[in-house]
Every structure is written in C-alpha cells, then in structure tokens.
Symmetry: C2
Subunit: 319 residues, 2 copies
C-alpha cells in the first residue's frame, strides 16, 4: 500500500482553527486521564553544531484506527539562512497493522494549530466567561494563532500586545486588526498588560520569567505555552504561588520541561487539563480566581490533529 504524501499547501486548504478542532483537543486530553492513551515520553535528538533539535511525539488512543508520530524541529540559526526555525511533519500509521498510511508534510503548521486549539481549551475552562480583554506576550505565529483561538471561545474586544521587537509588534497589530476588525494596542511593558487583562497568553521562548505574581489581579487567567524545554520559563514562581488553580497538559512534562520545573513544590496543587475536559474537576471556581494553565504540547494532540486533517483530505477527494 503506497504511502500518501500531502504537502503543506494541500493541508492548508482543508484545515481550520475552529471549534471542531478545539473539541478534538478536549477529547485528546480526556483520553490521557481516562487511561485510553499510550503516550511515551518525548524523544529528542540534539544537533548542537547547528543550534538545533528534533522532538518526536506520539500517542495511540485506544479504539482509533490510526495514530500519529510527529517530528518537530527547531533550528535557531535558520533565520540567518532565510529559513524559518521551525519545521516538522506527521506520519499517520494504521493502528491495526502498523503500516504507514500517510505523510503530512505540514512544515509545523499542524503543531501550531493544535497548540493554539489547546490554548482555546485552556481559556474555555480557565478564564472568566465575560473575558473581553486579551494580553498577548510575543508577536510570532503562536501569538497570532493563540489570539485567533481565544476569539473562538471568548467575546474578546480589546487586545494588548508586547514584543521585544517594535517592528514585529507593529506587524502583529496591523495584521490582526485587519483580520479580526479589532483594536490592538502595543505596550512597552508586560506588567501594564498583565494588570489590565482578563486573559494573558505567553508565547515566547524566554529563558527568564516574564510575569511576576505582584502584577496579578483577581479574575485573571494566564496560559503559558512557551516553555517546552529544560531551560525555558515564562512565569515567575510567585505567579504559581499566587494562583488559585494551576492546570497543566501533562504533569510529568510540566515538571521536566514546563513552568512547574521552577516551582516544583506546586506540583501537588496542579491538575491535568484532561481532568478538567473530562469534567472530573473544575478549573475556575469563581470570578475572582486567578488561574494558570501550562501547555507543553502532547502526542495525543498530534494524533488528534493528524487524524482530523487526514479525514478532511480524503473527504476533499471524495473518498
């Protein structure tokens, strides 16, 4: 059986960041806590000479006829070569026979979309339902997609953005104002954004904390998706200590690669996102809660988005 290879442009034509994808993410997180998923630890190959790494994630979810192996690369000297740092692809495998079904040569697009969709899940359960003001920290592709994701689940009317590079912040503002017909204000400091937001999303590769506990006000929700490696951190310990509720996608990953790494004493106070999506526990209890969600990225999300896209691609062909 020949493997079907789909290029990025074909994938772009069928996939949307929409509530359907957000639901697929909820089901994926639920499968983790209901012991329906076989999800091994992340595999990483380092390429020190080129300031790069390849991460491999996967998960088989019981009863599903296919599952994905996702390769995701980050080569941080690439921009000097005129190339994006991030790349990637997904391989879809037949669960019954182990035969490879398809290669989705998405160049990282699907990882971006499933990460943003997880941000929507976090906001859907974590943030106040009347959240109108979003603060985006960072100005890259995740900053754009996380904003788009928020707008799927909350009535966002005002957006504040911070980026280290003024030009990129202005690009973000121009693009997002046009795309969403919404007001974007660029701020020179993160503290001002945090103090005025209902929802803050951090989307940076920062190695040092960007947000401090003393800036947090009642009712705030923060989603931190930047930290996915041992040296990264976006939230100071004081943020986790002040939060009324901390949720992470996978505790073991958050402890090793995410925000829990710097504040491990909060591990016992943390629940996993699947416990929330499966309705075992709630995330936000009251409008005054301060809530934090740490996203590190999981193989179950990769399998969910790969299966979703493959079905859409076959549907397009009339299969």
């Amino acid at each position: 059986m020949k493997i079907r290879l789909f290029e990025r442009d074909e994938i772009e034509k069928v996939i949307r960041l929409d509530t359907g994808l957000v639901e697929k993410m909820e089901e994926a997180f639920t499968s983790l806590v209901e012991n329906q998923a076989q999800m091994p630890p992340i595999m990483r190959i380092d390429v020190p000479e080129y300031n790069g790494e390849v991460d491999i994630k996967s998960a088989y979810i019981k009863g599903q006829d296919s599952f994905a192996v996702k390769l995701s690369s980050g080569f941080f000297d690439n921009p000097s070569l005129g190339l994006p740092s991030a790349n990637g692809m997904m391989i879809l495998i037949n669960s019954q026979t182990g035969e490879p079904l398809s290669i989705l040569a998405d160049q990282g697009l699907l990882t971006d979309l499933r990460t943003a969709a997880a941000g929507a899940v976090a906001a859907k359960y974590g943030s106040r339902e009347d959240s109108k003001t979003a603060g985006i920290i960072g100005t890259g592709s995740q900053a754009r997609l996380q904003l788009e994701a928020l707008m799927l689940v909350r009535p966002i009317e005002h957006v504040m953005v911070y980026g280290r590079n003024k030009g990129k912040a202005e690009d973000f503002k121009a693009e997002m104002e046009e795309k969403f017909d919404i007001e974007i204000r660029i701020f020179p400091t993160i503290s001002e954004i945090v103090e005025q937001s209902d929802i803050v999303v951090t989307t940076t590769p920062s190695k040092e904390p960007l947000i401090y506990g003393e800036w947090l006000r009642e009712g705030l929700h923060i989603t931190a998706m930047g930290s996915d490696a041992e040296h990264k951190q976006e939230l100071d310990s004081t943020v986790l200590e002040k939060a009324d509720r901390i949720v992470c996608d996978v505790r073991a990953q958050s402890i090793r690669l995410g925000e829990l790494r710097s504040t491990p004493e909060m591990e016992g106070h943390t629940v996993e996102l699947g416990e929330v999506t499966s309705k075992q526990v709630s995330f936000r209890h009251s409008n005054s809660d301060i809530t934090v969600c740490d996203l590190t990225g999981t193989g179950v999300q990769d399998t969910a988005v790969a299966r979703h896209v493959y079905a859409l691609l076959l549907a397009k062909e009339g299969v």
Copy 2:
C-alpha cells in the same frame, strides 16, 4: 523544498548487503564510543489491542549533513491478515536546517540489512578467522540475511539450520542452497548445531533461552540478534558466564532489552562493539576463546544505512 519519497522497489534496486555496508556499520559503532553521536533512548508506542508496537530510533553523528529517524513496527497478528508482521520507514533530515529531505518507504528492508551487516561486524571481529561451519537458529528473513552477512566475512562452507517449523526450515534450505551453492543441513535440535559450529547466529523472537552453556566448545562465536525487548531472551545465563568475551552494541540497551538483562552481573565484563571497531580493545584473543555478541539495534546504524541508500538513490539519478 519538497520531500523526496522513495518506495521499496526503488530502494531494492540500489542497496546491497556488501562489505561497503559492513564498513558503514563499523563507522557507526565507532562514532558511539568516540562521543560523536547524539543517540537518544528508543521510543516505543504500544498498541496492545492489535498485539503491536512501533519503535523509533535515531541518531545524529557529528559532522554528517543528514541523519535519520527510523520507525519500525511489529504487529504480530498481521500474518492472519496476510501481511508481514514487520514494517517500517526512515526519514532523512537535513542536519543543518532540520528540514526533512527524504522518506525512505522501505517497509523495514533497511533495518533488516543494517542488522545483518552488524552481524557481519560481530563475526569479523569475534569469530575465528578460519570459521567454516555456521549454525543458524531461526528460518525467517534475518536467518537468511545473517547467513549472507557471514559469508561476506568468513569462508563458510557448511551450514546447519534449526527452525520450529519444518516447512520453513526446508524453504530456508532450498533457497539458501540455490543462492549460495552451499550445503545446508536441517537439524532437529539446537544443541547439536551449537556443538558442531564455529559460528552460531540466533535470529528468533524467543522468550526463553535457546542455548545453554554446557553445549559451548572452545573457539565458538555466538551472535544473538533476536532479543530487542524486555521479554525476549535467546541465551541462557550459563552462556554469558562461560564466555571469555561478551560484546554488545550498546550496553544500556543490552541491559534493558537484550541478553544482559537476564545476567546483569556480567555487565562489568562486557564491552561495546564500538570499542572493538575503533580498535580500542580486541574481541577474540585466541582461537580457543568463546565469544558472544548481543545485538539490539541502534539509531546510528539507521542513520548510516539511510544516508548510504540516499546517496545511492541520488547517484542513480545522476545527481
């Protein structure tokens, strides 16, 4: 840049099990002990409902412009569906940029070849140079390829084979006699084979020991390649205890998945194959030594064979 997808038939046209491939394996093992390789632990996804698993192996070797990620599946109910249990593919990645270069949809062929080539390395350094009689335990594709590999490095004139299935043993005999113009004798017991061989290669998925120490005679070399998972074993502890020299491809893998698992006290007496290929230590010291080599399969071999095949495929196109 579009990913190049090569199918099995294209790969079969260019790749040979030859001394060139054996040399590539030696270089691969050497890179491991010279700290030139980034080789993470094997990733495994279990699919219990279908009696299957997918193993992922990889390694980046310093200075090489590409490296492989290898997916290898074993789904043991497949024969009842008329399919082979084993499947697989390799993804070749640009070391400088992280971009995927090529998919080698080899269906496991390259893993088979690089495993046999490692068997040739083991025999080249481990067995007596005048080895003429080979004993093959098992009658599958590895049994065939391991015999072919031995014949690259030793003057094999007589072959004995054992298999649990008489029909398969007869198929093996017929095919190998025709292919190599050599005498193959089928034996009903393993002990007789071990007692009369210069080299024995075990190639089975056995969960119980097949070879016992009391059968071993001076000068014998054994290569055990079957055990690559926690429940598998081909050599009884008495074999490792009696051996004058034990070599494994990677100690950590042999301890966890290979023959050292059942006799961990021998770990301190074991050297890695790369120490032998890099000429740091010798394998066989004298014609009377009893030598054992445990092969579990490594990402450096996958990268070596993938790069080798990709170069051959491009050469065929006149690139």
